[in-house]
Symmetry: C2
Subunit: 332 residues, 2 copies
C-alpha cells in the first residue's frame, strides 16, 4: 500500500504530491508524502543531477536532502525520479459514518477516540453546509437536527481488532452526543461514503459563484476551538464558511462561499482569510497543512515562521538557486 | 510511547538522538528519531533563535527545517528545545527468540516474514561470535550447530493479532531452517532476552583488545548478501568480524575484533572497513544507518553521496554557518 491519498488522487501526479508534500485523509494514521519518499533524483538550478536517499531505510549519511526537497514547491530543484516506500496492505478495513447535532461534538468525538488509543486510518469531518451540498446525505437523517458528520475508516490485521476499534470509537462518539452511527455493511457502501467525501470540494464549490478554499492545520486538540473561531469569523464578516477536513490530524479546509462580483466582497474575503490564518497561528497551528504556500499565502509566511524562519529559508533557497530561476515568485 | 529506542537508551540524550537521528531496534516498524520530532528550537550560528515546526501534524509552510536539522550532527545549529511526538502504547507485546544453523538463514527468515506482511516491532540478528560473547546464550541450544539468532518483538492491539503475527513469523523461520523458536512466556523472560541484546555491544567489545564498530545500512532485501560479503572480507583480511544489527531495517553493525598494537593491524582494519563501506554502497546502501558521519567517515562521504551531493550539503552548511563555527571538522 502507498498510504498518501490526497482527495485529488484521481488527477494529481506523484511529482506534484512531492512538491507540495501532499497529505490526505489517511495522514492521521499513516503520515504524509514526506514519510513515503525514500530517495529522489533532482535536477538542480545549475543543471547538476542530484541523487538523494536510497533503499536503505536508515540513513544518516549527511543532511536529509530528500525531506528538504519534499514540499519545497519546485523552488529548490526539479524532481525527475522518486523512490517511494510501500507498506503491507492492512488485512481488513471498515468504514463508519457518525452524525452529530453539533460540529463541536463531532470534533470532540474524534479527539476523544484518538486519546483513548484508537487511531483511525481516517476521520473526515464535514459540517451541515457540506452535507447539504453532497448527494447521499439528504433525507431523514439530515432533517433531525444533524449539524455535522464524521466518516471514519478503521483498518487492522483481523476482525477482532476492527471490532475493538469500532467499539471504542462508538463509545467516544456517544460521549460526544452522536445521533447516528452506521458501519458500512459492504465494500460498496463504504465506497459510496468515501465517494461523497471525495466529491465534497467540487460540491461545495458549486454552492456559490466563488469558493475560496483554505488549508489551515492546527494541533489536533485545538480542532474544536478553530472550528468555533471560524464560525465566529463567518458571522463577523457576514460570510458563509463551509468547513470540512481531516479532524484526525488537525487539518481543516474552510471554504468561503461568496460572489466576488459584488461590491466589497473581495475585501471582506481577504479580511476573513487573514482572520482565519491568525486564529490558526494563535492556536499553535500553521497556514498550510498540505497545499503549500505558493503565491496566495506568501504575505503571511513571516507571521507563521518568524523573521528567523524566513531568513533561514531564503538562505537555503539562495544557496541552491542563487539566480532564483526555479519556480520564481513562489513561497517568498 | 516514544518509539525510538537506541541501544544506548540508558545513557544517551534526546539532544544527541536528534543530532544523529538515532534509530534502534524498533525502526523496522516505527521509524527513527526524525519521524518523532515535530518541532525544534535551535540557536543558529549568528545567535538567532529559530523555531521550526509545531504541534500541527500536517505542515507545509516553507521548507522542512525540522527534518533538515535532525541528523545534522550539530553542524547547522544547537538544539535547545524539541517537541516530540508520542503514539498510543500497543496493547500487547511478545518477544520470541529463533535460532538458526546459518547467519544467512536468519537473515532470510526476517526478510520472508516482512514480505509475508508481518512487520515485527523489532527483528534483531546476531551471529555466533556475538552469541558466544553474551551470557544467556550458552548451553545446549548453542552447542548444536547454531550459527545465528534473531530476537523478534511483536506488538499489536490484541492477543489474536499477536498470535497471527507469531504464527506467520514462525512459518517464515521454518522455511529458512530454524532449529529453535521460543516465545517468551513472561515479561521477565522477554526482558532477559532484550537485556542480552542491549549488552551485546559491550560484550563483543570485551572479546578483543580493540573493537572497531561500524554502522552500515542496506536495502532490507540485500541483508543476506551484505552478511555474505562481510564474512568474505573477514576471511580476506584474516580478521574476526562479529555481526549484529537490525535485520528488519537493513542496518548492520559489523564489529572488527583485533589488537591494534600488533604491527600491520591498523592498516588491515582500515582496508577491511573501506571494503565494507564499498560493499554497502554497491548494494544500494549507505555508510551510516544511525551513528552519523562525524570524523571517522568523512573520507567516504563523496563515495556515498557523489560530488553533487557533497556540494549541496556544503552549500547548505555555508548558507547557515558561513564561518564554520558549529561543530567544526564534522561531516566535511
Amino acid at each position: 500500500m502507498y498510504p498518501p491519498d490526497p482527495s485529488s488522487a484521481a488527477h494529481c501526479t506523484i511529482g506534484g504530491n512531492i512538491a507540495e508534500n501532499a497529505g490526505g485523509a489517511r495522514a492521521v494514521k499513516y503520515g504524509v508524502t514526506r514519510d513515503y519518499v525514500l530517495g529522489l533524483e533532482m535536477v538542480l538550478a545549475d543543471g547538476t543531477v542530484l541523487r538523494t536517499g536510497g533503499k536503505a531505510v536508515k540513513n544518516v549519511t549527511g543532511y536529509d536532502l530528500t525531506r528538504l526537497l519534499v514540499g519545497s514547491e519546485g523552488t529548490l530543484g526539479i524532481v525527475t525520479q522518486a523512490l517511494l516506500k510501500l507498506i503491507p496492505l492492512p488485512g481488513e478495513r471498515r468504514t463508519a459514518r457518525a452524525l452529530f447535532p453539533s460540529l463541536e461534538g463531532a470534533c470532540r468525538a474524534v479527539e476523544r477516540s484518538i486519546r483513548a488509543g484508537t487511531v483511525p486510518a481516517a476521520a473526515e469531518i464535514m459540517d451541515r453546509t457540506c452535507l447539504e451540498a453532497v448527494a447521499g446525505f439528504q433525507g431523514p437523517a439530515l432533517d433531525s437536527g444533524v449539524e455535522a458528520a464524521v466518516i471514519f475508516e478503521f483498518d487492522g490485521d483481523g476482525p477482532e481488532s476492527l471490532e475493538r476499534q469500532i467499539a471504542r470509537a462508538l463509545s467516544s462518539c456517544r460521549e460526544a452526543g452522536v445521533v447516528d452511527f452506521r458501519v458500512a455493511a459492504s465494500p460498496q457502501e463504504a465506497e459510496e461514503l468515501w465517494s461523497t467525501r471525495r466529491g465534497l470540494s467540487a460540491a461545495v464549490a458549486a454552492l456559490a459563484p466563488n469558493r475560496i478554499g483554505e488549508d489551515i492545520s492546527v494541533p489536533r486538540a485545538a480542532f474544536p476551538e478553530i472550528v468555533r473561531r471560524i464560525r465566529a469569523i463567518g458571522r463577523q464578516y457576514g460570510l458563509v464558511i463551509a468547513a470540512f477536513g481531516h479532524a484526525g490530524d488537525g487539518n481543516l479546509h474552510p471554504s468561503i462561499l461568496t460572489d466576488l462580483s459584488q461590491p466589497g466582497a473581495r475585501q471582506k474575503v481577504d479580511q476573513a482569510v487573514g482572520a482565519i490564518f491568525q486564529a490558526a497561528l494563535q492556536l499553535g497551528g500553521t497556514l498550510s497543512g498540505e497545499h503549500g504556500i505558493g503565491v496566495t499565502k506568501k504575505d503571511y509566511i513571516a507571521a507563521a515562521l518568524g523573521e528567523a524562519g524566513v531568513a533561514t529559508l531564503r538562505a537555503i533557497k539562495k544557496a541552491l538557486d542563487p539566480q532564483g530561476i526555479l519556480n520564481p515568485g513562489k513561497i517568498f
